[in-house]
Amino acid sequence: MIRSELIQKIADENPHLYQRDVEGIVNTIFEEITNAMSRGDRVELRGFGAFSVKKRDARVGRNPRTGESVQVEEKHVPFFKTGKLLRDRLNGK
């Protein structure tokens, strides 16, 4: 399923809404999650999962082609942990 199919499914269920409003709503939801993480916040959606930010320490990396050492700076990466309900549903429970 891709974004436009998700929008279509929600639009089909909500005939009283304009398609472009549904588009705006779906985009807002994903945008809000990304914005929260870029501030370092968590987004916890019970039953579905939680988005959080993990810190990766600075390290000495290596260019795999040349074998040369390079300093890799500390950075923050997005992380998702599946919620219990969804994990159980995936396994037919």
């Binding site: 891709i2 709503i25 870029s38 916040d41 987004v43 916890e44 019970r46 579905f48 969804l86």
Partner: protein, 100 residues
Amino acid sequence: MSEKTLTRMDLSEAVFREVGLSRNDSAQLVESLLEHMSDALVKGEQVKISSFGTFSVREKAARVGRNPKTGEEVPINPRRVLTFRPSHLMKDRVASGNKR
């Protein structure tokens, strides 16, 4: 880092501000989005949200695990797990937003 936790309520509040829907309808839309995504994943489909990320279901084979406390061997059944791969855009925004 302030580290706040947002919930469904914050997402529906954002929807409420975005379009002129009631708070109740906004909350319902957030719920319905999560449900459609979950249903697709349970069916084994991949959910690909451009500029956000991709959720995919992976099959894990059975293996023998070990209770780290007792050292006892325990069988781990085959199972399906969900992985999320953030888009480059999300990675960039999270990296630059959290830079000191």
